[in-house]
Symmetry: D2
Subunit: 357 residues, 4 copies
């Protein structure tokens, strides 16, 4: 049985490169040889033991690669084709998928829903920080990469671009909206770009790191709020002349940002939450207008599927958004443990790390 | 200056009937002689000092009556016409109104939004527990009552019917949905009726009072959960065979019901909140799927305006919903203090009290 | 190779019962033994040669039956289970499916869309007027029938109930709407029921046959317009006191009904078209307000998939809609040629014919 | 009674500058002294007698100016303030306004709807090609112009920018969509800009004039189709590799463009129609997929009201769209007859003409 290298979760604070068998290809699967992948903040949660996964699982959920072998029932793709797959790989046939909620896919569950069930790679099945990854339900999930795009150009499509854009989409950003994005990590930066693509005309980014502020401006932020310069709520209310924002996108996952996002909404506004939280959340009575403010709080898990991937790659192809400035570091798969060390500690201004087997 | 009787907030625990001048009619106003009105749970909050209003304010926000006099700029109505007006009386011309958020109307505010600004009667202007009420922005707010409908038939349109239905509307109930309504007070009962009108096929009402359970069944509840018979979350999950509900409507305003509503949602479901809260709220991390469940929390303040009133009266006229069973008691305006005493203490199985000057 | 009986299109005006091999089961398929099926108006178009299908094709697209055999990759169902499948059987994994347009499914086409591509049974693959039918993409399409429901109770779910309801859904019927349905054949009758389920309060059915008018009233029509009693447009405008309707549902497929539907719309209204047309259509300039009336024309092909089937069966289970009165005649599969003769000529007040192998 | 100059429709082919009384200001009105206005294609239809208006009516519906006098009931604005008003001036209080259909405003009509009723200036009341214009329902319609914006920068907001953007909005353009715009006159050019603002990544403009093609590219068109180079349907299908477009925007008002727009739609696509038609329209059966293609045809009349104006000016202020290249010619009001002569004959590459009293 042929072997491959894979980054495997061993125990808390231990992700190591190991040899594992190259997976067998089931009838609906595709085996993809990874050419580029990356590390996500969620992988760091896994590393630190904050998000539980099975010991021995290969981590990683952002694959770019070449189809090595297609399952016997898969049509519409060919071996040798360059593809990506979303971090979320819905089956296409669960009740969740068929009612427009594909990220909560649960094909094997009793009612067809599983909370976060669409997120399989590096969570409930082996992921893509490896030489090969098995893509389930390949017909629904493989996205053919246009020849003109490089691996690094499409590297953000599987997760952070899809997630970030969905912050603006779920918030139903309209032409002429004022939008704030709390935290300008990779997902927040993509939320800035998404808000611009949806027609927002005032886009406020909140972060304190100059490099992130700079990329935010490139991607569409019209104003930057640095929370070290004073209360961000007060600064945002001042920037909007007391009006508040139409849509506040939370892209960090903390009580502080969640609450600030709620406090800067105009009456009738929407808090679009992307963060992964690790504590209970508190909704202050006043910030919630006692339930009478026509406020909305919406959460979104990264949309996946090949149509999503196609559209995101169209955005790249059209030149409307360029996310390559986010790739600040590059490592060989062999050095992935060093990449984790850098990324987990957010050293050297790292935003995203390209990993190549 | 002619006088009228009006129920006035004097101080905490004191609403009394007093003589006040009949108001002068401005160019955009209509003076309406009240023929029937009612007391809302919110009025009880005012009585108890839990919701602050100015001393001397006439309370009440659910008017049925006859147009006594129209402002000089008002066209499209005639004196002597029988009308209702919504509890919420948007101006029609604020930025809030023009961006589809009329209940947060703020025509005089800097940006055209004021949190809960559309609620004027018995909140920021004199209300309708009186012989006369002045309806602002009459052209946007007066709803002509069809001759065939009695005062009591339309008495719920201004507030609880509009609010209750909006719970189902904001929750975007679809044909075939499973919906739960937490608390079967008048608003919860109207939410049950609204869920039925929107096509829900399983409607679960949660309450413990037999009379309310009975009305809920009449209005469309297919199942009743009595929280004294055991944990309502467990009961609802059992009723739905473990699936959870598509939409959970909160119609009470407490942490307990809010949290239970969140816990019974299927992944991707919507918590549609109608309650007026009096404490901060807590979102448990697990019930929120750490922010990854595609869950939505939406709040709605009673929609107003004459188009809303027209549609609600159409619902009554068509015979699709009959809310007269909610009128359990009747008082003269002269006896309104007794009516408050009964209603505030929820004695004698009271649901709604009709007050007639 | 075992044989089965199947109703096969031979040539114009010839559908005959023939022996055909029982189909082989591919990995994603399910073989269903038909227990009840029916004939659709579209089948009559096929019979008359007005809609072309391949010679030798088994016709019929409304299956109720028992799973005889599951494909090797199919999970989540078991042999012996009673099921239905929609007339439209989307794959779940085409671009059309993944962008919310499953009825135009085109998994094998270059871009993943094929006009009407989701309609496979009795159109591009063998249908279900036979002893057995092969259901493609079984995981996305099989709908488990609750034990409490009879075959005849769910017989309308695969097509006419789904189509008729979609007329109201695509028209975005709101609480308090006035809706007209042109033609009260089986689909128009289901559109009436759908409009009621979505909250319409005035529902006008247009037809001339007393038996259909009677069923329309049972399903929710508040008014009937008989076009033999005078111009239906004038009658509808009179019924609505000159206002016009919010949503007009066309359920026949002719210039006359299409144009009348346009003419009775209020400004800003929606024409929701379900009919299968056989000629070019003309939009009169005045009826279209020269393009300035904020009018919408939307067309919908029967939604399919197992979630749709589940919801429709919920509607039946809940008792909210009973379509069994539509089954006016019953035939054995052996006598299907007689059933066609009756149905194609609309003799004996036939609405729907139940066929049992 | 003080006089002013105004461009008045006298008879077919005669619009002349005349002296008229400066209008009296009613309680809800604002008198605006025009500083800049322009001529619309619709004005040319009026000039040619193709669209009927009353003799003696002042034409023009695109005002920029200074508030000269406010009605006695108008609050929230001040005399001397620089403002625009939309071509469409909804009342804010009709049933049409209150059901989200403000352009069909009919405050004085029996049911509150009048087809195209929101279009008042230069249609049913005196327009703004004059020294002064009376703005009805001023509180709903005046849009304060930011100091930093010039008259010419906001001159397109009242009509063509609002109309053009609405083509993309009503078409529900999504991130990654392919959109075609038929005819690159001023409204088509704004539709291109609107499609870009909504996230389209492939935007195809169809026109034959090089100057318009050039501006279209500046505003976001990624491809140009010149119908003199061959059948535009074939060219568009080739450009999209046979897929067709998600949204086709018709911005001319002819059978040819309407039909071509329908023919290039992918299954499930939307034809968003902005043109003012002057003949009946024909829907070819094949282009309409016989009613089975999930196609939508939506028409939109220019959205008005002060919130719309505010948002459009935000787009200008943000620098996201610059429409000043459309102003190709400038005239004094005294020379408006010459401006009409130029514009009506589309001489000298004219796109829009700025008129200053």
């Amino acid at each position: 049985m042929p072997k491959m290298k894979a980054a495997v979760f061993v125990k808390k604070n231990r992700i190591v490169l190991e040899d594992k068998p190259i997976p067998e290809v089931g009838p609906l699967d595709a085996l993809v040889r990874i050419t580029t992948t990356t590390i996500c903040g969620t992988d760091v949660h896994i590393l630190k033991g904050e998000y539980p996964v099975a010991k021995g699982l290969t981590v990683g959920h952002e694959p770019v690669g070449i189809i090595e072998k297609l399952g016997s029932s898969v049509v519409g793709f060919s071996e040798g084709q360059r593809v990506i797959a979303g971090a979320i790989t819905p089956s296409g046939h669960s009740f969740a998928c068929l009612c427009g909620c594909a990220s909560q896919d649960g094909p094997g569950s009793k009612h067809g829903f599983t909370a976060t069930g669409g997120w399989k790679f590096g969570n409930i099945i082996d992921g893509c920080q490896a030489e090969y990854v098995l893509v389930p339900d390949a017909m629904a999930n493989l996205g053919a990469v246009p020849d003109a795009l490089s691996d690094e150009q499409v590297l953000m499509c599987p997760d952070i671009m899809s997630t970030g854009f969905s912050g603006a989409e779920s918030g139903k950003v309209q032409i002429g909206d004022t939008v704030v994005v709390f935290a300008l990590g990779p997902i927040g930066l993509c939320a800035v770009a998404g808000a611009k693509l949806k027609g927002a005309t005032t886009i406020i980014g909140v972060d304190t790191l100059p490099a992130r502020q700079e990329v935010a401006r490139q991607l569409g932020a019209s104003h930057i709020v640095d929370f070290r310069q004073g209360d961000p709520v007060a600064q945002i209310m001042a920037l909007t002349d007391g009006r508040g924002v139409d849509v506040a996108i939370e892209a960090l996952g903390t009580q502080t940002t969640f609450e600030a996002a709620l406090r800067v909404l105009r009456p009738g506004g929407t808090l679009s939450s992307l963060g992964v939280y690790s504590t209970d959340l508190r909704i202050p009575l006043d910030a919630f207008a006692a339930g009478l403010g026509d406020l909305k709080i919406v959460t979104t898990l990264c949309p996946g599927g090949k149509e999503r991937m196609r559209r995101l790659m169209e955005v790249i192809s059209s030149g409307r958004v360029d996310l390559t400035p986010l790739v600040t570091h590059r490592y060989k798969l062999d050095d992935i443990e060093k990449a984790y060390e850098l990324f987990a500690n957010q050293r050297d201004g790292v935003m995203k790390v390209a990993i190549t087997p």
